[in-house]
């Protein structure tokens, strides 16, 4: 029993250490005020899940943006490359390098973009699936439901934007993007929220003799596309396409899967 648990604890410890700053703390500090590139106002809404990252020669740090700013205390003095991440909605256009000495304050403008992010995945009959969770795949697949936030300056509410998410295999070139047994239904629910449903989804990519083969048992990213619908006809013009990290495991039923 101990032999089984020990490696897990060891791996967990190594992973935990990996996310910590990689250098001893110092005496400098940095406050980054994050603003909207168009309005010049601080971005205070926590819905965007903004994070500021600093990368120095030997040090890396990350802090969330709270009330419009990210504060780094006990930094080692030096030069840092500053980058940002967001669940959705903002893009850093500038390459930013900052020299941190003692107490430094700076402003970083982020561009508002058409974008969306998945916040919740659920499966009919199985409830909510967290990051790293497992989805049981019966023979006929599952109905995947996803909800999240979006913004679309180019195609704002009440435009009926289209949302598409695929759950590719870890190696999509070889193992594909999964199979949908019906048509995805998607749309905005409000000026900032969307939902979509993918019927009869299976983590398999090829049909051979009436069965789905090339099935995979894990995924680590979602592939997201938001489009604005054409005025006439089917389809739309893409507004954003991107990846979002979301690890999943799939437990295939015996005899799985039928298209």
């Amino acid at each position: 029993m101990v032999r089984r648990i020990l490696p897990v604890i060891l791996i967990a410890f190594v992973l935990a250490c990996d996310s910590l700053p990689t250098a001893p703390s110092g005496a400098a500090s940095l406050r980054v005020q994050v603003t909207d590139d168009l309005t010049r106002q601080p971005i205070t809404d926590p819905v965007y899940h903004l994070e500021v990252h600093l990368a120095g020669a030997n040090n890396t740090y990350a802090q969330p943006v709270v009330n419009g700013s990210a504060t780094f205390g006990a930094l080692a003095e030096g030069e840092y490359r500053l980058t940002t991440t967001a669940l959705f909605g903002y893009l850093q256009l500038d390459v930013v390098r900052v020299s941190v000495e003692k107490s430094t304050t700076m402003t970083l403008a982020l561009a508002p973009i058409d974008d969306f992010g998945v916040e919740q995945i659920s499966v009919d009959g199985q409830g909510t699936i967290p990051v790293g969770g497992t989805i049981a795949i019966p023979v006929r697949g599952v109905t995947l439901r996803m909800r999240g936030k979006y913004r679309s300056p180019r195609s704002p509410w009440p435009a009926k934007n289209l949302f598409a998410v695929s759950v590719p295999s870890v190696n999509p070139e070889a193992d594909g993007f999964g199979h949908e047994g019906g048509r995805t239904e998607s749309g905005p629910m409000s000026p900032s929220e969307f939902e979509l449903a993918i019927p009869n989804w299976t983590p398999c990519s090829r049909i051979v003799d009436g069965r789905l083969v090339s099935c995979y048992t894990s995924a680590d990213t979602l592939m997201l596309t938001m489009s604005t619908p054409f005025e006439r006809g089917f389809g739309g013009s893409p507004l954003i396409r991107k990846y979002q990290s979301w690890a999943l495991k799939f437990d295939l039923a015996p005899g799985c899967c039928l298209p």
Binding site: R81, L91, L93, D94, V95, V96, R97, A111, I113, D114, D115, L162, A164, V165, S166, F177, E180, R183, T184, I198, M223, T225, S227, F230, G233, F234, G235, G236, S237, P238, L239, I240, R241, K242, Y243
Partner: protein
């Protein structure tokens, strides 16, 4: 589903263009402007983002023309030269994914009054310094005005933009 959606989008985009697409090739220039480059193509000191610094309109005689003094004939006689500056640190691959290192450009020309227009687009990968995209600029429906929009896109998000109005007369 996603792949079908993308395919439909691509096909629909192709159908939507009313102007014949002309292949254009982005040309990396290097970190410095070459002799003969227009002065306004130079990026301001400390430019930190990918920027369309200038759009030149070149007449049939090779001289630069202002966009309010264009002639309808001879057709297809003007060229646009779009100057793009990429500061160090934003060149080449950015992030990860299947198209992380590829940007797109779109040049859209439209006359809302006549409900005409068209677009050119393609992929490019920026090197540090300057890149030039050359594209034809023509008015096919007679005298009038066109809104000309040039955008640099990353994953369909606009990261640089330039707009001007071209006025054509007899």
């Amino acid at each position: 589903m996603t792949r079908w959606l993308v395919l439909v989008c691509v096909l629909a985009s192709a159908c939507g263009a009313s102007e014949k697409a002309t292949p254009v090739t982005p040309t990396p220039i290097g970190v410095s402007l070459p002799p003969g480059a227009p002065g306004d193509a130079a990026a301001k000191p400390d430019t930190t983002r990918i920027t369309i610094t200038a759009v030149e309109i070149i007449g049939p005689d090779g001289a630069r023309v202002t966009p309010d003094r264009l002639k309808v004939r001879p057709a297809l006689s003007y060229n646009m030269r779009v100057w793009i500056f990429c500061p160090p640190g934003l060149e080449g691959p950015q992030g990860s994914g299947w198209n992380a290192e590829i940007l797109e450009y779109q040049i859209r020309k439209g006359d809302p009054a006549a409900n005409t227009g068209g677009a050119l687009s393609g992929a490019l990968r920026l090197e540090e310094g300057y890149t030039v995209i050359e594209a034809p600029l023509a008015m096919t429906t007679g005298p009038g005005r066109q809104r000309v929009t040039t955008e640099i896109l990353r994953n369909y998000a606009v990261i640089a933009k330039d707009e001007f109005t071209a006025t054509f007369s007899e």
